[in-house]
């Protein structure tokens, strides 16, 4: 959902999912992306990144190569638009977005192997028996700030990117849950969880989109111990995956 005060069409996060059935394995992919507010056409870029991940565009090839293909799609969609001077200037800087994606490989085995990738501050949390057993790529609320290195649609800005790609591989058991969250919500979870472990149950209690909307509104108004709001006013995106 969008930042409070913004319209629905100003939401610049994105999410996607896909199922790919192979001979012995079924791949379930989930991705969230977060377009940076100081860049233009970031919503389109976030959508391209999230769908690119779920369509396997990030598999088995160097990251820069996958990104440059998606950049060309982004540029093509915006080509020929008659834009005022400031929009042209912004367009030439490129759009920026964070991404976090995870692929579960289901086989006949009793466990599920997964691989995850993240660039920027969107996060994935692994939950077992209501406890957070892994946080990726951030594990503390102190790590969030408003200057992350993000993926740009303009290759000239992606020089430092390779040092900021985080990957994670592991094994999940039936009953585990994975929570994918863009930065404001991820930071909220790490803050709340430090104070009270039962916050995970609260998230499980959200049964519908209306529940989620109500919960976000309340947390944006809730004052934390340091005097700020528990949930920073920003676009929020949340995917909850439960392995059965």
């Amino acid at each position: 959902m969008p930042k409070a005060g913004n319209r629905q069409d100003e939401y610049e996060d994105a999410f996607n999912r896909s199922i790919q059935i192979n001979k012995d394995t079924t791949n379930y992919r989930f991705a969230i992306a977060d377009g940076a507010s100081e860049s233009s056409f970031a919503d389109l870029w976030a959508k391209l990144l999230a769908s690119g991940y779920c369509n396997g565009k990030f598999d088995d090839r160097p990251l820069q190569k996958s990104i440059s293909k998606l950049s060309r799609v982004w540029q093509k969609k915006l080509q020929g638009k008659d834009l005022p001077w400031y929009a042209q200037e912004k367009l030439s800087s490129g759009a920026f977005a964070a991404i976090a994606g995870i692929t579960f490989r289901l086989t006949d085995a009793s466990f599920t192997a997964f691989d995850a990738v993240a660039i920027g501050d969107s996060c994935i949390f692994q939950i077992r028996n209501d406890k957070m057993i892994a946080a990726f790529p951030m594990s503390s609320a102190d790590e969030f700030h408003n200057r992350p290195v993000l993926i740009s649609s303009n290759a000239a800005n992606n020089g430092p990117l390779k040092d900021f790609v985080r990957t994670w591989s592991g094994i999940a058991k039936a009953g585990d849950s994975f929570l994918l969250m863009t930065d404001a919500l991820a930071c909220w979870l790490l803050t709340r969880y430090e104070e009270d472990l039962s916050v995970i149950k609260k998230l499980y209690g959200l049964a519908s989109e209306q529940d989620f909307t109500r919960f976000v509104h309340a947390e944006r108004k809730s004052i934390s111990r340091d005097g700020g709001f528990y949930l920073r006013n920003d676009d929020v995106t949340f995917i909850r995956v439960k392995l059965l």
């Binding site: 005060g5 507010s37 233009s40 408003n146 700020g228």
Partner: protein
């Protein structure tokens, strides 16, 4: 303090005060002081607008005004903006007096730089005429901002950027500047930043000094004393993004240098670390 969210429903304000007096025709660098002022104000406006530009247009995060002082004191925009004290930033974005084509160096993605033709908006041409009624100009800013603050009391406080060679002809503006800095919203006092253009032979470029010790003349020292302290967030951005080494006492004062940093250092959301 200085933490209010800047949004369209809770905008902030930028007021520029520019010296257009006769002394600005003095030579400075390759041109005149007046050229340096017009270049600085055009560049600051351009940066502020780009910061507010989104796919669909400009978001009105700021109300912006420019007061000129010289032969007269008052709103300095021309064309459709003439006579307006403060306008939403989108109106300024859509009404430059002309667009110049300039070559800009941009990274080519392979570690080098390439030339790119860009449109550079121009709102102000060099002007130098009359005396330097600095006290009156700062008083005018006070009146305008007092009114704005009454309407937008919870907002991030107004930022005032004053560009001058410092040679006031209607008295010492120290107390007027102090009065201006005393104005406050719920989120903090007005921030007054001074950009001093000096042709003094001993003027060495300075950015956000913590003391007036190295300043060349009384004009510089007066402007330094009249400047607000940078906010902690601005100091963090200056140190992290501009390789400066500022501490808590850094003032919003520059001598013969660029002030664009204070615009980049305003928080309106995620700014990618790899965007320069």
């Amino acid at each position: 303090m200085y933490s209010a969210e800047i949004s369209r429903s809770n905008p902030s304000c930028f007021l520029f005060i520019i010296d257009q007096s006769g002394s600005m025709s003095d030579p400075y660098g390759a041109g005149s002081k007046a050229e340096s002022v017009s270049d600085a104000i055009n560049r600051l406006l351009q940066n502020l607008i780009i910061k507010c530009a989104k796919s669909e247009g400009i978001r009105d995060y700021y109300h912006v005004g420019v007061i000129g002082y010289g032969a007269s004191v008052g709103p300095a925009f021309g064309g459709v903006l003439a006579g307006k004290e403060l306008v939403p930033i989108s109106e300024i974005a859509d009404n430059p007096s002309r667009l110049e084509k300039r070559l800009k160096k941009v990274p080519d993605g392979a570690g080098g730089l390439a030339d790119q033709l860009v449109k550079f908006p121009v709102w102000f041409e060099p002007v130098s005429n009359g005396g330097t009624p600095m006290c009156q100009a700062v008083n005018t800013a006070h009146t305008i901002l007092n009114q704005w603050i009454n309407e937008y009391t919870p907002s991030f406080p107004p930022v005032v950027i004053h560009i001058t060679d410092g040679e006031s002809t209607d008295g010492d503006p120290t107390s007027e500047m102090a009065k201006l800095r005393e104005l406050a919203t719920d989120d903090g006092n007005v921030l007054l930043f001074n950009l001093h253009i000096s042709d003094s032979p001993s003027a060495v470029e300075q950015r956000f000094p913590e003391t007036s010790d190295g300043l060349p003349d009384p004009y510089s020292r007066m402007l330094y004393e009249g400047s607000s302290l940078l906010t902690p967030f601005m100091i963090r951005v200056a140190n992290q993004e501009h390789d400066l080494d500022l501490s808590d006492g850094a003032r919003g004062f520059v001598l013969n240098a660029d002030l664009t940093l204070v615009i980049q250092a305003l928080d309106i959301g995620t700014r990618p670390a790899n965007l320069r």
